[in-house]
Symmetry: C2
Subunit: 598 residues, 2 copies
């Protein structure tokens, strides 16, 4: 097909859109691929739609290769299935809700686990029907609090979501692997670098959960990886627990005056000024024997407020080494499905035993936190706070701290919790060495849901023995519009977009750059010849537009192969221009088709 | 591609779904094409999605042939553009409205005129950019009061909607014709019979409006057509106005007692019992000189109540020949944008001059309706009530009527109105003879919108003289899901669906019908050979399913070509089964590919 730019629906823009924060958003708008319709909601212009269709075609192809069948669920769905699963409520403000003219409740679906489960329940009843993997490519809705970053985080967006159904765990593992392999092929075909990281497997009870992250500085996710091959997102990272230490040789806890030391840094400074230097090896786990008190010697006790699904509020205190902070995402996962926030002034007022800035698990008169707690508040410790570690921490008296407070001797928690941030150099849990931190954008998630939805919604089948068994499910998602944005983030330069051939809106961009009729005649004929060779051609035939403007548009639009038909056309010479490398090469017009058909 | 039924996501059903009223709905559910998710909202199963994709591909192909470019607008849209056009309000209960987390108003778009207009305004500014036709294939939402008939009237449905943009009326005519031609090609390729009927052009100020109707007894629309080629929907039909008659020889109006004659039939019976026979040719327009009073001699005066857009209520009386009724759809169009309903008891109570059952335009003391009306109520006449026609009608006195009341002499209306129903035998307005009435289903609408939206939303371009001119638009819509349902309505028998090859979910359905391994081996090899020949094959390889069940499923699913590989397989013989004709023919297996590749 030849598309002539003189009548094509395209208008490139010189200026970046005012609301665009990231490169992909700026370029996709400027180059005429998308247009904003509302915050986080976009109109697809012909160029954008063509790229999106190519991405979808690759996904469909690999889904078919993986034996998955395509279905399509409505976007507008009744409340009932989501009420049954509990998600009508637990989604909170994150979904769009509405009522029809009879007052019945509906939502715009953010995901379709319930519908997939109910569909299979509706139609299937025997183990013979399984395994089954079905998927859709469909527009989803989330009422994001801060829609931004263009297509990277929209409120209406396209996803491919697949679900597998098995009646044995072994079957589930095979279905999971088939989708995981398909995802790898999809990203490889798209030329999209990816890292597979272990992810938190959430509340659903499934076993495996992995995210495909595209490493990029604009990514919203932090992940960790070791040189030895470990990779996980920070929520899934698990701390290597040090060995317990002997209590031998440890003195008794010593309360000391520590005026105006409500923060770790002020406490460390005070300790170095007023205390004897720490004995090598006896204090906190990060002691280096350098004779200085450091944040790693201190135990920070952070008061968090959980809001449980039933609406009840619970205070919980986490004790972590003072050289670490509570990581919000890790805390969110650790306490899910409860919501987590910092304790408020009212919370402190209601618990007078908590002396803000000077909280610790122990006091001269007994346990404040942990076993035999005087406060009744749960106290959860970082896994590094093993028996025998000695800490500087609050003494539960204003302006006083305690040192040589020994875990397992002087205090104990009610359990352990993974909420401390991960730092470069922390050991990977699989023993593959220290980790580094990197930024990534989630481009896919494969996930063993297990039996949560099947149990909740009653999806059972008869097994070989005629016994009803609950089905186990997997969930496999790719953000189509997000991938498109990722490809734009990855493939551009200061002139514009540079699409990989697999998803470029056209195969070739022919530019009639001469001012005489000959150039236009040659360009038109060449375009027709390229079309006859099976290529999809964008032909810039605009009669009164300067070559400079045409070249600028070609660079902005980003078709990977450009042919310039200019002054040399009369002599049968044209230029092949590789958009990515910038190389230009004069070739006889008769050779162009063979060169580009590749 | 070969799809094996043993693992394909398909479950056929024996029973019609309880809520299905029409054949297409029953069969599409039973044969596993769609599944209900909520009233008027459906999930697409693999078979249905394949047929839908084929219809969409044909539409895309013909849109490209017509020079239209594909875009895609969001379904979730902000209120503002619809507020500007007035449709946020005028849609009434017919749309889904919602709010986001910040309380901003949104709707699920039922159509996108505003968005198309604003997009072109956003990007284009010169006559050189035009003509332009852009389209989308997109899911739309309408909150139907009574979603029913399956896909024929859903609440979430897929449409192709195109809009053309021109700056001259001549350009608009050409754009219109290009879409009209494309629609004809689309229906021809789909094998879908259509009638193009003149349609009401509504309030938008455009000139041409035509509907594509598929003639079917389950159609919701009535249309009229003449043997001479006239076709229109009833709303667009215009009455042939008879010539005025002379007043000569007509007596004065005569009031007569007509006890208990509040209906036309009682009035006619009374007149035949108590009045002299009507003089031939002098009474109502339909007199046949047979000497009997008929309903055609009477003038029926119907009180309607209009509700205008600003909320005000107005009574209006229409005078139509007594042998006709007010057609609701024609009245709706005649009075649009006001809403029309019958007058209520309160309306009569508020207007004591209106004597229910005995209303007429004239009384002994002067005009009750029309010119010099005593009631102040608008009086609109059927176009057949021309000067010189004499009528039996109400005398505005309880139990009394008047005869020989002559239009143009004794009374006149405030104007004419096309609200009387169309009857078989009525003359076509183009002189092509009497019309007949038929039922049809709207499958497409091409429509000159004119400048309404461009004016309202400020879409202007600079013309050749540098003058700003308002753009003129055309609107072109096809219901994709409705067409699929129409094809199912049209292509079935008592065994199931019978798809046309152009949209069938598979090209060939191979059935392994033997009980021995040979049949399965031959069928598998044949399926592979058919795939290699480029055909999309559904292979029923289910090992323990009887041939009878397999044949029943094949008939229900409706792939047009079926190959039965049964007992003869060992001898190299299979049966070709034409689903539509029912013909079965034994052929050597080696000839099947050549026969089916066609």
């Amino acid at each position: 097909m030849v598309t002539r730019l003189s009548n094509f629906f395209l208008r490139t823009l010189r200026e970046d859109p005012a609301d665009a924060e990231v490169t992909s958003h700026k370029l996709l708008v400027r180059a005429g691929y998308i247009r904003r319709a509302a915050p986080g909601i976009f109109t697809w212009l012909p160029l954008g739609l063509k790229v999106k269709a190519k991405i979808e075609a690759i996904i469909r192809d690999e889904m078919a290769n993986a034996g998955a069948f395509e279905v399509h669920f409505p976007a507008l769905l009744p409340r009932d299935p989501y009420e049954q699963s509990g998600r009508w409520t637990s989604y909170g403000d994150g979904i769009f809700r509405l009522q029809d003219r009879r007052g019945a409740d509906y939502l715009l679906a953010p995901t379709h686990e319930e519908m997939f489960t109910l569909l299979v329940k509706d139609l299937y009843s025997s183990y013979k029907d399984l395994p089954l993997t079905i998927y859709q490519i469909q527009d989803k809705y989330r009422d994001e609090a801060r829609p931004r970053a263009g297509l990277l985080r929209g409120r209406e967006f396209t996803m491919k979501d697949a679900y597998s159904f098995d009646y044995t765990d072994e079957g589930q593992d095979a279905s999971y692997q088939a989708q995981r392999d398909a995802y790898e092929r999809i990203y490889q075909r798209l030329g999209l670098e990816y890292v597979i990281v272990a992810a938190d497997n959430g509340l659903m009870g499934g076993a495996r959960s992995e995210e495909f992250l595209h490493p990029t500085s604009v990514g919203e996710d932090t992940f960790v990886r070791s040189a030895g091959g470990y990779a996980a997102n920070v929520e899934a990272f698990t701390t290597v627990v040090p060995e317990a230490l002997p209590f031998d040789g440890l003195g008794a806890p010593v309360i000391f005056d520590s005026p105006d030391t409500p923060t770790i840094q002020t406490l460390v400074d005070h300790s170095n000024a007023h205390l004897d230097a720490p004995a090598p090896g006896i204090a906190g786990p990060a002691t280096d024997g350098a004779g200085e008190w450091t944040a790693a010697h201190t135990l920070k006790n952070v008061v968090l407020a959980l809001t449980h699904l039933d609406g009840t509020r619970e205070l919980v205190i986490v004790g972590i080494p003072g050289d670490r902070d509570v990581d919000d995402k890790r805390a969110e996962v650790a306490f899910a499905p409860a919501a987590v926030e910092a304790a408020t002034a009212e919370d402190f007022a209601a618990n007078p035993l908590l002396v803000k800035g000077y909280i610790g698990p122990w006091s001269e008169t007994g346990a404040i936190l942990g076993e035999e707690s005087a406060t009744g508040i749960r106290y959860l410790l970082d896994p590094r706070v093993v028996d025998g570690t000695a800490w500087v921490t609050g003494a539960n008296i204003d302006q006083k701290h305690v040192h040589t407070l020994v875990a397992g001797r002087d205090f104990a928690g009610d359990g352990f919790v993974e909420v401390a941030n991960v730092r470069p150099g922390d050991p990977a849990p699989d023993g593959s060495g220290p980790v580094e931190l990197a930024r990534g954008m989630e481009i896919g998630h494969v996930f063993q849901l297990g039996r949560f939805f099947a149990e909740t919604l009653g999806l059972k089948v008869l097994d070989e023995n005629g016994k009803l068994v609950t089905v186990t499910m997997g969930s496999y998602g790719i953000g189509v519009t997000r991938i498109l944005a990722n490809l734009a983030e990855l493939n551009n330069d200061d002139k514009g977009l540079v699409w990989p051939a697999a998803v470029a809106p056209f195969d070739v961009h022919v530019v009639a750059a001469g001012r005489d009729a000959a150039a236009f005649e040659v360009a038109a004929q060449l375009s027709a010849d390229l079309e006859a060779a099976g290529l999809d051609v964008l032909y810039d035939d605009r009669p009164k537009v300067s070559p400079g403007v045409k070249f600028g548009d070609a660079e902005l639009v980003g078709v990977p192969k450009i042919v310039i038909v200019g002054r040399g056309a009369a002599d049968g010479q044209v230029e092949l221009w590789d958009r990515r490398s910038g190389d230009r090469e004069v070739v006889p017009v008769g050779e162009v088709v063979a060169r580009l058909r590749g």
